[in-house]
């Protein structure tokens, strides 16, 4: 499989009151097309920082983030926005839907950025909302009128509407109960099975099991990597492999 993203000597340093904190240290990494890549690590290890640096949401301090041969690390803020709208879909822990817009409008607000044909975008938005199992009667509700799990599925639909090269998911089940979290993971898994590349940050082992490739971040570096193969429901070996890997990483 070809690499969609490659990082070279990726560094990220935060400065706070003159004190510098090196969050990412010389990371060389490839993200492959079609993979469900999971980034794990302890709190403060730098996993979310890595996710946002890969996605062009944030700029690294040093190094390159090469997308299909183009380094996006040096792009200006608005150029990155244009890049993101075409290439990335995002699912956040807090869902981050716009409260003043209906569910359908939240998805369309993203879709209309890329496709100007309103009919096509509307049809696509409805298709993805259906594909995340969101009942039609909720489409014209506002985000505050639906449950957290439903809102997260709207977030996934919004991430999918533009056929992004990769979906970046930052702790997508972090704010959900186990059942709604499972529904969200099922949706992501389903899309990955149909070829959608996904990079997901999580510190939840159950969520991490859905990935076929596990990266473990420790002190700003990729401390280890595990290839699990595609997710199969009820595969107990998968769970123990992952547990052993994490134990080895000091989880």
């Amino acid at each position: 499989m070809r690499n969609i993203i490659e990082t070279k000597k990726l560094c990220k340093t935060f400065s706070n009151g003159g004190v510098q904190q090196h969050v990412l240290k010389n990371i060389d990494l490839e993200i492959r097309e079609g993979d469900f890549t999971v980034i794990m690590g302890a709190s403060g290890a730098g996993k979310s920082t890595l996710l946002y640096a890969l996605s062009g949401m944030d700029r690294p301090t040093l190094g390159e983030v090469v997308w299909n041969g183009t380094d996006i690390a040096k792009k200006a803020s608005d150029q990155l926005a244009l890049f993101r709208r075409k290439n990335c879909g995002f699912v956040f822990q807090q869902t981050y839907l716009v409260d003043s817009m209906s569910v359908l409008d939240n998805v369309l607000a993203a879709g209309l950025l890329v496709e100007k044909d309103k009919k096509k975008v509307t049809a696509k938005a409805k298709e993805v909302l259906t594909s995340v199992d969101l009942p039609e009667e909720l489409w014209n509700k506002f985000p505050t009128q639906i449950s957290g799990g439903e809102a997260q599925r709207v977030g996934i639909a919004r991430a999918l509407v533009n056929h992004p090269a990769i979906i970046f998911a930052d702790e997508p089940t972090g704010a959900l109960n186990s059942q709604t979290g499972k529904d969200v993971l099922n949706a992501l898994t389903r899309f990955n099975e149909s070829g959608q590349s996904i990079v997901m940050v999580t510190h939840d082992i159950t969520s991490a099991r859905r990935g076929n490739r596990i990266l473990y971040v420790k002190d700003g570096e990729i401390a280890g990597e595990l290839e699990l193969g595609k997710y199969v429901s009820g595969d107990k070996d998968r769970h123990s492999m992952l547990r052993d890997f994490l134990r080895e990483m000091g989880w």
Partner: protein
């Protein structure tokens, strides 16, 4: 109280931009209020103070036209009956003379008196400024020549009297209570002794006049005295004219402009105060929304609602006190500019002095407003439950309708999102709608004043009738002169017109415009109700006079002139700003019941095509009737002269109104856009995360304010177009204008509307540029 101060300081730090915006608005309101109050309480009384300082008595009279039979002893006898003190001087008076003034000419009664009048004790005439080095062929002019007549000491003033050209060097300026302001209808000139002797020798027989200043006996009313005096004089010589005015009228006319300016400033101040109320209430509502958790936390640790409200009160009172003090200082600093306009009209020295009312009232007024609005708008704080607030519970959403559905909207995505923002931000857009509406209305008034007093001035608002020129011919040649004008192809609508004071009862007078046929008048708009008189028993009187006397159309009115009296039927009401609103129009035939007009000079009003042709007609007439021309009045020149001060004021007011409007719009948008950016900062982060650029979000933000602004401009432009004249009618009715028909140039109105929209859009874009600083990543990790 310490804890409230601590909280207030924290509010300041957190809401620095909002505080600066509100402070600027308060400062602007305080400045305008200070200027208004200084104009009313410091500038306006100046003419009274000056009149009293010059010992102006109760009134002044100018007795002219055939006064040879009127000896000083006779005058003494008449005056002794009614006055406790009087003083009179003999000089010359030329009636309705065109003299250069400002950009044109002024038509007034010009009084020439010798230097001995400078020694008078009652109704003192005082030299304000002079250059003693000028020793021959000089003249002292009223100070108004300096303040608005564009004349300086050392300049040359040229004018014609009875066909003879005179040239004087200006030696100095004088002040007089009764004869030094164009609004009182007469100017006193004091030439050098040699020139004065020349004038006396030439015109002493025909133009001799008396100038009287008097103090009335206790209980004698001025109007009654004037009528009795006029009648007594006319029993001696029916042709003698008595002019002049009471002290009250003289100071009123000299200071009327300061009242108009003060009222204009108060109107604008009121609008700024309304804007402050809206913005203050909006800021407090925003504060509560933005600080819901903090309020909850404060209440949880023991702060009461009153403590938090008091802290807000301290914050806004500090702004009010600071803004008011600086505004008052700015008001005093700006006052000399306004004073320049006021003294231009007053024609007397004036310098701004400290005035307690103008200094303390704006602070008290603004503080009261701020206290009331803050207490009212913050009352919700008292009801906030700390637990609910800590959960951000009160910020719950209650969206009843999904406005501008993206799947159905006919607009592009950015415009659609802008419209969504507009609906969710509807309170702020309502504020914008009304603020812009007020601004459009005020600018329309400013535009109307500029159009009608400066760009395309119209005398019909200042005078009862207008024409191209008036040719004054003595009684010997008036019929020939009329025939001559009638025979000229380039002159049209030749009509005979004369002005005289008629008396009503024992205390009131009417300044009458007497035409051979009132139907020939150009200014038909002067009669706003009923019709102009046609027959010899009819009269049109001013509405103000009719109102004061409880007269209606169809009523009869008995008028006196000397020993004669006649009764007339009122056919209509006319509007006028002159002669205290006491004017009338009648036909020659009607006036014939009161006086013999055969021996009066002929004043021939005519229309023609422009200023140059008017002068050409005068030149030809002077050649044709040499020695018989009493006066010539080119109305185009008169218009320039009469409007000199109005033009300056109109331009200044338009500029001032536009600048203040721009400042108000910018401050309001500064506060509203700032608050919107704060409230939507999370949404902007989300938009950026999913791929919206800063430019598109900036544009969305600016566009979200545009519908209310454009709608307001459209609606209020139409409303202002139709409401401006009725509004001015209401405002000017106390001055005698009841049915004004001021032009409002539609292109100007469109330009103002377009300007407001463009300014608002550009500023919104500029203010929304802060969106660039919102980074999606920072927004996400901050949560």
């Amino acid at each position: 109280m310490n804890k409230e101060f601590l909280l207030a300081r924290s509010h300041f730090k957190k809401n620095r931009g909002t505080s600066i915006g509100l402070l600027s608005l308060i400062l602007l309101a305080a400045t305008l209020l200070t200027i208004s109050l200084l104009t009313i309480f410091d500038a306006y009384p100046t003419s009274v103070k000056e009149g009293e300082r010059l010992n102006g008595g109760d009134g002044g009279l100018n007795i002219s036209f055939d006064v040879e039979n009127l000896s000083e002893d006779v005058l003494e006898d008449i005056l002794a009956k009614y006055t406790s003190e009087h003083e009179f001087h003999k000089g010359l008076e030329y009636q309705d003379i065109s003299v250069p003034f400002g950009n044109g000419e002024m038509v007034l009664n010009i009084l020439f008196y010798g230097a001995e009048v400078l020694d008078s004790q009652l109704g003192r005439i005082e030299i304000v400024d002079e250059d003693p080095a000028i020793t021959s062929d000089y003249i002292y002019l009223p100070y108004q020549y300096y303040t608005s007549g564009s004349i300086k000491i050392g300049d040359t003033l040229e004018f014609s009297l009875k066909g003879i050209r005179y040239s004087f060097k200006v030696r100095g300026f004088l002040n007089s209570t009764y004869n030094a302001c164009n609004n009182t209808g007469s100017f006193i000139f004091i030439p050098d002794p040699a020139s004065y002797e020349v004038l006396k020798t030439r015109d002493g027989a025909t133009e001799a006049a008396f100038m009287v200043t008097y103090k009335l006996n206790e209980g004698v009313k001025d109007a009654a005295f004037r009528i009795a005096f006029t009648n007594a004089v006319k029993t001696i010589n029916s042709r003698t004219q008595v002019g002049g005015s009471s002290f009250d009228h003289a100071v009123y006319y000299r200071s009327i402009m300061s009242l108009i300016i003060a009222v204009s400033f108060i109107v604008v101040s009121a609008i700024v105060l309304i804007v402050i109320i809206l913005m203050l209430a909006n800021s407090i509502t925003n504060f509560i929304r933005e600080n819901m958790k903090a309020i909850g936390a404060l209440k949880a640790i023991g702060y009461t609602g009153a403590d938090i409200r008091n802290s807000l009160l301290i914050q806004f009172l500090t702004l009010a006190v600071g803004g008011s003090i600086v505004g008052i200082v700015l008001g005093y600093l700006a006052m000399p500019i306004v004073a320049g306009i006021v003294i231009a009209q007053m024609g007397m020295p004036y310098s701004v002095s400290f005035n307690a009312i103008a200094t303390f009232c704006p602070v008290i007024f603004i503080l009261l407003f701020v206290i009331l609005v803050t207490m009212f708008a913050s009352r919700k704080i008292g009801k906030i439950d700390p637990i609910i607030a800590l959960r951000d519970g009160l910020a719950g959403h209650n969206f009843k309708k999904n406005h501008v559905r993206l799947d159905r909207s006919g607009f592009g995505v950015n415009t659609s999102l802008a419209l969504k923002t507009m609906f969710t931000n509807r309170k702020q857009n309502i504020i914008t709608f009304f603020v812009v509406g007020f601004i459009i209305f005020v600018c329309t008034i400013g535009l109307m004043m500029y159009e009608n007093f400066s760009r395309d001035p119209k005398l019909e608002f200042l005078y009862a009738e207008h024409c191209s020129g008036v040719l004054g011919v003595d009684s010997d040649m008036k019929e020939e002169a009329e025939e001559y004008l009638n025979n000229r192809a380039d002159a049209s609508n030749v009509r005979r017109g004369l002005n005289l004071n008629l008396y009503f009862g024992t205390e009131d007078q009417l300044y009458a415009f007497i035409f051979d046929d009132p139907d020939k008048m150009n200014n038909k708009n002067v009669c706003y109700k009923g019709r102009l008189p046609k027959h010899d028993n009819e009269i049109t009187v001013s509405g103000k006079f009719a109102n004061e006397q409880s007269l209606e159309i169809g009523d009869e009115i008995k008028l006196n002139y000397g020993a004669r009296s006649a009764t007339y039927v009122i056919t209509g009401f006319m509007q006028t700003v002159n002669n205290m609103g006491h004017e009338a129009i009648m036909s020659e035939a009607a006036a014939g019941h009161l006086m013999d007009l055969k021996r009066a000079p002929g004043y021939l009003w005519f229309d023609c095509d422009g200023r140059d042709l008017t002068n050409e007609i005068f030149r030809d007439a002077e050649a044709e009737f040499e020695g018989h021309i009493v006066t010539t009045m080119n109305y185009y020149e008169v218009m320039d002269g009469a409007l000199t001060t109005f033009q300056g004021i109109a331009v200044l007011m338009l500029i001032l109104v536009c600048v203040i409007s721009a400042i108000v719009i910018l401050l309001v948008l500064f506060l509203l856009v700032k608050s919107l950016l704060y409230n939507k900062r999370k949404d902007y982060g989300i938009y950026k995360a999913i791929g919206y650029t800063s430019d598109s979000l900036i544009l969305q933000t600016a566009i979200s304010f545009m519908p209310s602004i454009i709608l307001s401009v459209l609606i209020f432009s139409v409303v202002s177009y139709f409401a401006a004249n009725p509004y001015l009618n209401f405002f000017l009715s106390s001055f005698g204008i009841v049915k004004s028909a001021f032009d409002i140039p539609i292109p100007g109105l469109v330009l103002i509307g377009f300007g407001v929209i463009v300014l608002a859009f550009l500023f919104s874009v500029w203010q929304a540029r802060k969106i660039r600083k919102i980074e999606a990543y920072n927004m996400l990790i901050a949560e």
